[in-house]
């Protein structure tokens, strides 16, 4: 993995090399600016992709790193979306503070539920997260006075970003805003993954039995990452509210929880960029396929999912990593 021989360079240098920014990462983030020039007509879509990528990134932290499989992660996305919507409707419409409040509330919801979540694994965990998601969805559906129920939340008014940039029809502000937030949250996630805490999470994923035997309070670690992940999902939800000026019940739906799981698995879990890549492929595919055939586009997503799981068990990013490793092995 490293260019220099690590055995000569010492343990510190070896670990330093693992956390260093790679050139392809920098290239990726620069390329993320391309839609402004190359596809200015698709900036709304690009903004949706950035939001979905952020949501997938939040799931990656718990699924890819800590091994918590969730089918109800939309709960925190939805809490963030509604928090941002209600705040702008009833209190104030300034987006950045709205983002903070939404993240905080989603985090509180995450922390509260984490106490139950971390006690379970495997199938029970999947059912539990699914149940919590459904619960919240129906609660929002029935609380018509607050959320607007199935009609969606009306009257969301968002002030211009930094009191300067209006959320325009073309999505210029929306994409700039979503991308900037995605990047900042990504930096936090990246730092977290390369911290001792990130190592502890990988330890839990690799062997939950051994962790207590090295003195690790695994459940405390899991509660912490679950809360952090919920904050990030909440921020993603708030971004959706801010960039679309509406909140529909769909933000809490099972469909959204399932989609983000599909996206992460497509892209490759436990790789930080897997969710982002998955979001790009999934959202572009949905945009294209639904243009060809609006009713049956999930057919193609199904084909894509089966193909990836069968031929690239670690997702597209996992497959790419394997190919480049082989390629490097052949031509060192």
């Amino acid at each position: 993995m490293t260019a220099a021989d690590p055995a000569v360079a010492g343990p510190h240098r070896y670990l330093e090399a693992q956390v260093r920014w790679r050139r392809i990462e920098i290239a990726f983030w620069i390329a993320a600016l391309l839609p402004f020039v190359v596809t200015p007509a698709y900036l709304q879509l690009a903004s949706q992709i950035a939001i979905t990528a952020l949501f997938a990134l939040s799931l990656d932290l718990i699924l890819g790193y800590a091994g918590i499989v969730s089918l109800g992660h939309a709960a925190y996305f939805g809490v963030g979306a509604y928090a941002a919507g209600l705040l702008s409707k009833h209190v104030w419409g300034e987006p950045l503070s709205g983002l903070a409040v939404a993240g905080l509330l989603a985090g509180l919801a995450g922390y509260a539920t984490s106490h139950i979540i971390v006690r379970f694994r495997h199938l029970a965990l999947i059912m539990l997260t699914l149940g919590l998601g459904l619960l919240l969805h129906e609660a929002a559906n029935s609380a018509h006075f607050l959320t607007g129920g199935a009609d969606g939340l009306q009257g969301v008014r968002i002030r211009p970003l930094l009191e300067t940039f209006r959320f325009d029809l073309y999505g210029r502000t929306a994409y700039a805003y979503s991308l900037a937030v995605l990047f900042l949250v990504f930096l936090v996630a990246r730092r977290l993954i390369h911290s001792p805490f990130g190592l502890a999470l990988r330890g839990i994923r690799e062997n939950a039995v051994r962790m207590p035997a090295i003195g690790s309070p695994s459940r405390a670690h899991l509660r912490k990452i679950y809360t952090i992940s919920a904050v990030m999902a909440g921020i993603a939800g708030a971004l959706l509210t801010h960039t679309t000026s509406t909140v529909s019940l769909e933000v809490l739906s099972f469909q959204r929880s399932a989609d983000v799981l599909v996206i992460l698995i497509l892209g490759g879990a436990g790789r930080l960029y897997g969710g982002i890549l998955g979001a790009i492929i999934y959202m572009v595919a949905r945009d294209q396929f639904s243009g060809i055939n609006p009713q049956y586009w999930y057919f193609w997503i199904g084909v894509l999912l089966i193909a990836v799981v069968m031929f690239l068990p670690n997702g597209i990013l996992g497959g790419l990593a394997k190919i480049t490793a082989r390629w490097r092995g052949r031509w060192p």
């Binding site: 690590p6 055995a7 010492g10 343990p11 510190h12 070896y14 670990l15 330093e16 956390v19 730092r191 977290l192 390369h194 911290s195 001792p196 805490f197 990130g198 190592l199 502890a200 990988r202 330890g203 690799e206 062997n207 039995v209 051994r210 962790m211 207590p212 035997a213 090295i214 003195g215 690790s216 309070p217 695994s218 405390a220 670690h221 912490k224 952090i228």
Partner: protein, 250 residues
Amino acid sequence: MSAVLSTRGLAKRFGSLVVAQDIALALPQGVRYALIGPNGAGKTTLINLITGMLRPDAGRILLGEDDITSLRADARVKRGLARTFQINTLFPHLSALESVALAVCERQGCAGTWWTRLPGYRDAIEEAHGILASLRLAADCYRLTSELAYGRQRLLEIALALATRPKVLLLDEPAAGVPKDESADLFEAISGLASELTVLFIEHDMNIVFRFASRIIVMVGGRILVEGSPEEIARNPEVRTVYLGAERHG
């Protein structure tokens, strides 16, 4: 001499099967204990009870003067009670260095820190590397655990336990699955551990037991049959009939 680890009236049953009954131990500091007995005698169960992986039905466990019976497994480790596993219980996709660094970080209390990068913890990394080097694993420490040879993985088991800086180290068949000629090397490494460390190991090979243990505990059917020096155990007629004579292991 006061005991570093002791148990009083420890008992555990699974349904009608008694796996531990009235276990009273008192291990003084620095002594190398071998725990022997036929398969199913309850040796691993005893380690699980002492380390908190199983809850006893009755009895108490003391580390020094402190009652640790109600503590969680990870809290016991923090107090200085470490173990290894008979079947490799490692982190397959972490490198050996990362695995041991993780254990060091947990001990130092920095494993919950998520805003500082791991390379910032130079002391922890150097210490982890030092532990691996002391077990002659330095050359392999950048490889993934799953890529290490089996014997090296057995050493990594011990390295992980040492990283917790134990007062008492419980080794559940440290040489399980290791070829005979290599298992002596493994026990050389174990006997080279700090002399103030109390070690209890489970082992079936009697040559190893008599060579490396200063005291021997014999368990049969969930009870301690006898405890004594290797000479006493070798001469004990009960041990001969119940264990050494009746059942040979290999």
